[in-house]
């Protein structure tokens, strides 16, 4: 079943707005490994799309594509934003960097990927603003503080380097950095994996509140169905680089169709 057929099977949509994010027909191979096979996805404004799947199913690869860090062998990527047109995979490096800085925020599972560990936490947030051209120290300072506060980071430690912080706090710095420029799209790759359960719950709380307050469009990747259940409006299930099932979160969790999804959901329950 191709992803296009999947879309056709979706229940009638109440949403009349066009999707904010559309990827279609994305293929990506690493040597013999097919990381993504004809993957398509849409995310509507203000919506949270959850992506679940076993390890190696291509979730992170897809997210990296959405953050324009990697280009597929073939595929099309569009964002419905003012001034953004055409297939984004065809942009040159400079245009990509500007687009990502301005419109997309990302939180990685591994904070080392997203943070400069030896700079201050507020500096990590400020770097985003600096790339966007902010040149007033006072503004940098206050905007970094606002972003850190919004991600519920303890402000007393805003100038401590991430390397000295706990895992949960590091994720909050990443989050603050990701939302500092108020992006249209927030990408989260296993944002709470590796945190202990209580910290995980707190970080999820923050994410939920942010989503509610700012109506940010999110794509969240996790192999933890609990996380997806808490966060996502719609769920996409991936296996071996393919989308095997897609639907509203309740539908996927209550009435999974594909046998792989059934196994996944039942293992969880």
């Amino acid at each position: 079943m191709t992803a296009t057929q999947l879309h056709a099977q979706l229940p009638p949509q109440l949403m009349t707005t066009p999707p904010l994010l559309t990827v279609s027909g994305v293929n990506r191979r690493f040597g013999d490994v097919v990381a993504l096979h004809d993957v398509s996805a849409r995310v509507y404004p203000g919506e949270v799309l959850g992506i679940v799947g076993e390890s190696g199913s291509g979730k992170s690869t897809l997210l990296r594509m959405m953050n324009l860090e990697d280009t597929p062998d073939s595929g099309d990527y569009r964002l419905a934003l003012p001034g953004v047109t055409g297939n984004l995979f065809e942009l040159d490096r400079f245009a990509r960097r500007m687009l990502c800085a301005r419109h997309i925020g990302i939180v990685y599972q591994n904070p080392h990927l997203g943070l400069l560990m030896k700079n201050s936490s507020s500096g990590n947030v400020a770097e985003r603003l600096l790339i966007a051209g902010e040149r007033s120290f006072a503004t940098l300072r206050s905007k970094a503080r606002v972003a850190l506060e919004a991600s519920e980071f303890p402000l007393a430690r805003m100038d401590a380097p991430p390397i000295e912080l706990s895992g949960g706090m590091q994720q909050r710095v990443q989050l603050a950095k990701a939302i500092a420029l108020e992006p249209a799209l927030l990408l989260l790759d296993e944002p709470t994996t590796g945190l202990d359960v209580s910290v995980q719950a707190l970080v999820l709380d923050t994410l939920k509140r942010l989503q509610r307050d700012r109506a940010i469009t999110m794509v969240i990747v996790s192999h933890d169905l609990g996380v997806i259940r808490t966060m996502a409006d719609r769920v996409m299930v991936m296996r071996r680089g393919r989308v095997v099932e897609e639907g509203l979160a309740d539908q996927i969790f209550q009435d999974p169709q594909h046998e792989y999804t059934q196994a996944l959901v039942h293992a969880k329950l």
Partner: protein
């Protein structure tokens, strides 16, 4: 077999020491550097009778520019009479017939390491700065090919971040010499180990400046009338060293960049860092005719 058969027959050195092809390559790179202000141009650094790290980059540029009518001044730490400055100047004279001079007003080519002279340079003068580390991104990006890509993208966020961190940690910008500066609104360069005091002298200057690093094999230029803006936040102004009201203990001159000379009793006196300006001031005080040109700073204040 005699020694004579093993050695090459005697031949004179090329004019200006470097052979013609070396000079042609350097000239081409110098023209490129002028065409893209502040952008580092790689070049094939040649052997000169001096160890790398002692100003071979500057020396090669100077050798390429020299002609018999040139008048050449060489400064090391602001002084014309240091061993290094004196030997380079003598060498330049020997291989080109150019006249040696100490006087900024008299020179057509000035090779320097740490200082830009205090007297304003004219449009018929060329300043050649010796640079140890030409890459301003090195402290934030050790991978040189990534750094080149960052220059291509004008991706200087990390340099700004360094300034941000310094202000957060110490309340002020700690960067002393080699202060990163944006040239012509496009490329960030490191202006050699000149103090912050000297950076404004490069902005919209009438003279041409070459900066060359022999070990790193890169040269770049600031053409006349080109903007050179030290990176600074809009609300944390760029500050030069606090030397405006120091007085030179030998010449009595005030308002210029000074060297600090520690005394035996633990105190310190100051001495004009531009040594020949000091000499001229002393001569004038003794009633000799020693013309002093217009200076960039007056009473410790920079005049654009």
């Amino acid at each position: 077999m005699s020694l004579a058969t093993l050695t090459k027959p005697w031949a004179a050195f090329s004019y200006g020491f470097l052979d013609a092809s070396a000079k042609r390559e350097l000239r081409r790179k110098m023209l490129k550097a002028i065409a893209v202000p502040g952008c580092q141009m790689p070049y094939a650094s040649r052997e000169v009778p001096m160890a790398r790290g002692w100003g071979t980059g500057g020396l090669q540029v100077t050798l390429t520019l020299l002609k018999p009518t040139s008048r050449v001044k060489v400064i090391d730490q602001g002084a014309d009479d240091s061993v290094n400055a004196a030997s380079i100047r003598k060498f330049l004279h020997r291989v080109s017939g150019a006249t040696e001079t100490w006087d900024t007003l008299d020179a057509t080519i000035i090779q320097s390491r740490h200082r830009v002279p205090e007297e304003r340079l004219r449009d018929d003068q060329i300043l050649v700065l010796q640079v140890p580390n030409p890459e301003p991104l090195r402290p934030v990006e050790p991978n040189m090919s990534t750094a080149r890509q960052m220059h291509a993208d004008a991706d200087y966020g990390r340099l700004w971040l360094v300034l941000y961190e310094q202000i957060v940690r110490s309340g002020r910008v700690m960067q002393g010499a080699a202060y990163p500066s944006l040239v012509n609104g496009r490329h960030v360069m490191t202006p050699s180990p000149i103090p912050r005091w000297d950076v404004p002298k490069l902005n919209m200057a009438r003279h041409l400046t070459f900066l060359s690093a022999g070990r790193e094999k890169r040269l770049y230029a600031v053409p006349p009338f080109t903007r050179v803006e030290p990176l600074a936040f809009s609300d944390v102004p760029y500050k030069v060293e606090d030397h405006g009201n120091l007085t030179c203990s030998r010449s009595g001159v005030t308002g210029f960049f000074m060297n600090e000379i520690p005394q035996e009793d633990g105190s310190a006196v100051h001495e004009l860092s531009d040594s020949h300006l000091g000499i001229k001031a002393i001569r004038r005080a003794e009633g000799e005719a020693a013309p002093i040109g217009a200076t960039w700073y007056q009473n410790g204040e920079f005049r654009a």
